[in-house]
Every structure is written in C-alpha cells, then in structure tokens.
C-alpha cells in the first residue's frame, strides 16, 4: 500500500533508475540465455539445485563483496573496493531488515528501506532498533572511508596504485554520481537527525552538533531530493558504464560454477564483468612506453562501446601478465582472439601435403623444435647430448621438414589454416610411434598437448628434470650463478615454473629477480605481437634483458627459443637454454657414447 507514510515524490528518480537497471539486467541475462547452446542450458538446469550453486555463492561473497583477489595484490585497492561493495551491500540488507522489523511487513515499497530515515525520523523503539541505527551508520562510515581513500588515490596514484586508468566520459559521469551518493546520504540523514533527533554514532553526532541551526529546515527536502537523484543518475548510467560489472560478475561466477562451456556466453559475461579496475594496466609491458593503450581495461571498455581499434586487437603480445592479476579472471586474450577471427578472412586450409615418410619407427622420444627452434641450434645439440647420455632412442620430427604447430597462424586469426598445420604435425609425430613426445618450445608444447592425448607430451624442462630424477642422467653442481627467465607460455600458460628452477638449482646457484615464476616479465619477442612496431619491441626486449641482468648472475637461462633469441640480442650476459645449462653440467661418466 502506498500512503504518505511511505511515499514522497522525491523517491521517483531513484525508483525509476532502479527499475531501469533491473529491467536492463534481466534483458541481458535473458538474451544470453537464449543464445546459449542447448547442452549448456541443460547443464545449468541440472546444476542449479546442486552444491555448485553454494560454492558459487561463496565465491560471490569473496569476490564481489570482499574482493579477495584484489586484496591479495594490493591492500589499498582491496580495501577501497571492499568498502564500497560490502558496505553498500550491508546497507541494503540491514536496511531491508530494519524496515521489515519496524513495519512487520514484507512487502515494503522498493524505495522504503533506502529512505527509511526520511519516513521514520527521530528515535523509535522497536526490536533491535538501536542495533539497526548504529549498524547502518557503521556501513555508511565504511563506505565513506573507502571514498576518502579513493580521493587520495586520484590525487596521488603513484604512491598508491601505480598507473591509474583513464576512463571514458560515461564512466566518469557514473563515477561522479557515485561519489555524490554517500556524502549526500550522510548529509540528509544528519540533517534529519538534527531536526528530529535520533541517528547513530555518525549521523546522530553530526545531527546533535548542527541541531538548532536555522538552515536545517530549508536543507531537509533538497538533500533528500539530491540523494535520490544521485542514486537515480547512477543507476541509469550503470548499464553503459563499467559499473555494470557489479551485477554481472555474480552471473559470471554462477555460469563458471554451473559449467557453462559456451565460449561466446562466457566471453560476453567476462566483457561485461570487467570492472575497469586497471590492475592489468600496471603489469602490461606495453603500458610502459608511449604506444597507444590497448590493455584489457581499455580494450574491453571500447569493445563494449563497439569502438575497439586495430591496435586493441593486434597490439597485444599475448604474454598473459594481465590475466594473471585480473581479479575477475577475464580471459582478455581469448576475447581478443574472437575479434581477430572476425577481422581476417578464414581461408580454406591448404591442400593436403605429401604423406610423411615413416622411416624411423618406434623411437623412445619424438622431439619437436618448432619453427623458432631452427634459430637456436644450441638447444637441439644440447638435447642430443642429454638423450645420448640417457641412452634413449630419439628422433627430431622436424629434422628435414619445417613443421609448424599452427600457433602463429592462430594468433593472426587464421584458425583454419592453423588447424591444418597442427594436423600435419600430429600425423608426423604419431608416425614416429614414440613413447613420449617432447618439445623444446613451450608454445608448441601447449599446442601439442592440447591436440594429442594418445601419448604423453612433455616440455623439455619437465622431461630433462624427470631424466635426472630417475637417475638416467647425472649432473654436477658447479660454482656458476644462474638467473632463470620464465617464458610466458611455460609459466603462466602451462603452469610449469618451479620444476625448472629446482632442477637448475642442481647445477648452480640461482639468483632470481623479484618478479619471476608466474609473475615473470615478457621477453618482448612474443608471438602475439603482430602489429607491435620494431622499435617498441626493441624497447620491451631491452627492458627485460636489463631486468634479468640486475641480479648479476653469470648466465641467464630460459626455456623458450623465442625468449632466448629476444633476450640474447640485448643482454651482455650470455643467454642459454635450459637444455644447454643441463648438458654443460652432465657428469661425463653418465655419457654412454
């Protein structure tokens, strides 16, 4: 029932905004649902009433409200996000219960809890009323403290968060509305407390301080109006700004837990769930130079507006440093991949090539160096020595022919041709009938392990480590110092980072830079950087080479031919492959031939 007790015309801006955002959100979800494949819809229907929903709810609390992943990276940013999200959420929940307890009625109008202090000013005794009053002030104080931090952050970003993203006009407008909401609520409730008494430790105290001031009455209605308008404006802007992530992230988490496998659905949700927090900006190697910005925060912002540009799609190195830190786990490189495929013609794959000669049947190890491996013959020679020492029969599948895993073509958007290359490589590898397939290139390794399940596929770091662990080869430790550079494709993509380090520790002393393992820098030569200008690439390579030389080791070790070539071009310190470092330290007694 709408009565003067629970309605005043000033609630209309808020109510309209709120209704609008709810309708928009529902429409978005319904549209996604209708575009989802049958299988996924069935999966969702089956999972809704299972424990996975509970798990998702847990994650929603941890990520959407508390922002656990942001906390882990940056306490300052974590507190800021949490104060807004958690504080506002609690304001809504506690406010709901407050109005419920007061009226004893479940069906209060949508605006009632929000403007409770307007409709029920002053002190009232009802169940837990004191608790509600203080709690509501506490949540408001929490939000305002976050807002003060946010203000500090804008004033001195360098001290607090590093690079700060520059937002688009609509995002700035929404932010301005958001910044008005809580100070206005504080002002409106304090003035109300000043006139009618009541209020908690915050609004009550301010109310007492200003009580009796003659302007209070004339401020009363304008402040409540302003509060309602700022809410309304903010809500109307939500679907067009980054704040749409607030409702969407929950759906993304649910979809992931319900096992939705449709790429398009997940990518759309991820695009909408990006909060433009800018954490990706700080780690992206391309953000350091003067090149136009294409980091996920900007790319996704433009993609949502349908204005993403050439540099957004092709200027990314694909080093995955951004995905490593993204609190929403947005797979931006895959979103880019989808855009790439739209941008280039999908040619028919080339005609089937000549059958692969099946000369060397039944080897122990089939080795694949990859196209880039041709530029690093040292790695190949080292692997030959290691395998001879281990007494294994082996063959390089690309000894006489240039085979390709197809990844480079894939990264340039030509997936059909890439698949044809992979098929050919697969045939060639399986024709050797190996017990195990080993690649000395992490990029090829990732492609092959995704394509071949009939045989174990290993990266050579894992394979060599295994040979040492099994005692097939023996290595000797020397006084040398080493710095190991984690290739993107190995550490972040394949999650192999500790084993190469522990293996290298058996042949020398490691001096690692601060950011290594899954946080390692990008060598700059990345395969994805199709449109990265030469001088920009040189800058990236030099920066990483310098960074790796900082610990002052005698040798830089890496495990990717691309990294090796890129770093070696710009480092005074010798750069060797993992295999070379191990081969050099082989105990001669263990060499059989």
């Amino acid at each position: 029932m709408i009565t003067p007790d629970n309605f005043n015309i000033f609630v209309i801006p808020f109510t309209l905004g709120m209704t609008f955002v709810i309708i928009w959100l529902l429409a978005t979800i319904v549209r996604l649902w209708r575009h989802m494949p049958q299988a996924d819809r069935r999966r969702v229907r089956h999972s809704i009433l299972t424990v996975s929903t509970l798990r998702a709810a847990g994650e929603i609390v941890a990520e959407v409200l508390i922002h656990r992943r942001i906390w882990k990276r940056n306490k300052f940013l974590g507190y800021m996000h949490m104060s807004f999200a958690f504080g506002w959420f609690m304001l809504i929940v506690v406010g709901k219960f407050e109005s419920l307890t007061y009226t004893g009625n479940h069906f209060n109008p949508i605006w009632y809890p929000l403007f409770f202090k307007f409709f029920v000013p002053g002190e009232h005794e009802f169940f837990l009323s004191a608790f509600f009053t203080q709690a509501m002030d506490l949540w408001l104080a929490l939000i305002l403290s976050g807002q003060i931090l946010a203000f500090v952050k804008r004033r001195m970003p360098g001290r607090t968060i590093g690079i700060r993203p520059r937002h688009t006009a609509v995002n700035r407008a929404a932010l301005t509305a958001l910044w008005f909401i809580f100070p206005l609520r504080l002002a409106a409730e304090s003035v109300t407390a000043g006139i009618h008494g009541g209020g908690g430790f915050l609004t009550g105290t301010i109310g007492q301080a200003i009580a009796g001031a003659p302007v209070l009455d004339s401020l009363f209605m304008p402040l409540w109006w302003a509060y309602s308008i700022s809410l309304g404006v903010f809500f109307v802007l939500i679907p067009f700004s980054r704040y749409f992530h607030i409702p969407v992230e929950g759906f993304l988490i649910l979809a992931r837990h319900w096992g939705v496998s449709d790429e398009a659905t997940i990518r759309t949700l991820e695009t909408l769930a990006c909060s433009a927090c800018g954490m990706c900006l700080r780690v992206c190697p391309r953000a350091q130079g003067d090149a136009p910005r294409m980091q996920p925060v900007y790319f996704i912002e433009r993609l949502r507006a349908g204005r993403d540009n050439d540099n957004d799609v092709w200027g990314c190195l694909g080093c995955l440093r951004c995905e490593e830190v993204c609190p929403v786990v947005v797979h931006s490189t895959q979103i880019r991949m989808a855009r790439k495929m739209q941008a280039v013609p999908q040619r028919r794959p080339q005609p089937a090539p000549a059958p692969v000669p099946q000369a060397r049947q039944g080897v122990d190890v089939a080795l694949f160096a990859g196209c880039m491996g041709k530029l690093t013959p040292g790695t190949k020679a080292a692997m030959n020595r290691i395998l001879q020492a281990a007494g294994l029969a082996y063959a390089w599948v690309d000894e006489d022919e240039d085979l390709c895993c197809g990844r480079p073509l894939r990264l340039s958007g030509r997936t059909g041709e890439a698949q044809a290359r992979m098929d050919r490589l697969k045939t060639a590898l399986l024709a050797l009938n190996p017990r195990v397939i080993v690649s000395t290139c992490p990029i090829c390794y990732n492609m092959i392990r995704a394509a071949i399940s009939a045989r174990p596929v290993l990266h050579h770091t894992d394979f060599v480590a295994q040979l040492i662990d099994e005692g097939r080869i023996a290595v000797g430790r020397s006084a040398q110092t080493l710095t190991y550079h984690d290739p993107c494709e190995l550490s972040r993509m394949a999650d192999i980072s500790s084993r190469p380090v522990s293996t290298l520790a058996k042949v020398g002393t490691l001096k690692q830079p601060d950011e290594c393992g899954r946080e390692s820098h990008c060598c700059g030569g990345a395969l994805g950087g199709l449109a990265v200008a030469g001088h920009e690439r040189t800058r990236l390579m030099t920066a990483t080479a310098d960074y790796l030389q900082r610990p002052g080791a005698q040798t830089i070790v890496t495990a990717c031919p691309l990294c090796k070539k890129s770093i070696a071009q710009h480092a005074a310190t010798p750069v060797v492959d993992f295999a070379e470092a191990i081969a050099k330290s082989l105990k001669t007694s263990s060499i059989n031939q």
Partner: protein, 121 residues
C-alpha cells in the same frame, strides 16, 4: 637540390622507388618502420617457406611492394612464425607485412561478399 635520381627519405635510407602504390602506402601508414628495410635478405634466409620448392621470399616481396610490382611471391604461405623479424638487422617486425596483406584481402573479400545480397534482391 640536384636531382640524383633518388632521394633520401630518412638519413639512413635511400628510396630508389618513386612509385606511389596503394598497398605499400597502406602498409607504411600502419607500419612506417618498413621504410627502413635495407633489402639485406636476412629475413628470407631464415624463412621456413623460402626454399627451392616454394616461391616465397620476404625480401623480394618487400621490394615488389615498394616498386609497385605485381607480387610474384607466394606470400600467403607465411606462417607468421616470427623468425624473419628476429634476425632483421634493422629490428623490423617483418611479418606484419604479410599479416597486413592478408587483412587487406579481407577487406576486398568483405566488400565483395557484402555486395552480393543487394544484387540478389
């Protein structure tokens, strides 16, 4: 200034070609650095598609593009492997040429396929 039959476009590059051609201009617009190619051929030497059996040469393609000649090289074979750019003495991202040629064609294809439905009525 005396006409030597060539003009220096950048202090370290002599551009013998005066031909204006659309494709090369488009590539230069996106990758101005390609102007500094010195036609050394290092790129072609390491290219996996440059052997006796294939008609693909990175260097030759660049020269043909510059001079506005028809492309005799099977540039479509480029597998984007990145080897050429890692050996380029000028540090150019060489493969971006082939990548662009491919997308330019995409534009043409795109225009053609888009033209069809209107004719069909």
């Amino acid at each position: 200034m005396k006409d030597f039959g060539f003009k220096p476009v950048r202090p370290n590059v002599i551009d013998l070609a005066t031909v204006q051609n659309r494709t090369w201009t488009d590539i230069l617009r996106l990758h101005p650095e390609m102007r500094s190619c010195i036609s050394c051929g290092a790129c072609a030497a390491v290219c996996p598609n440059n052997n006796e059996l294939t008609k693909m040469s990175v260097r030759r393609t660049i020269i043909e593009l510059r001079h506005g000649l028809p492309l005799t090289s099977e540039w479509q074979n480029c597998q984007m492997c990145n080897r050429c750019s890692l050996v380029c003495p000028k540090g150019l991202n060489t493969r971006s040429i082939f990548f662009r040629l491919n997308t330019f064609e995409a534009l043409n294809d795109h225009n053609q396929t888009n033209a069809e439905p209107t004719n069909r009525k």
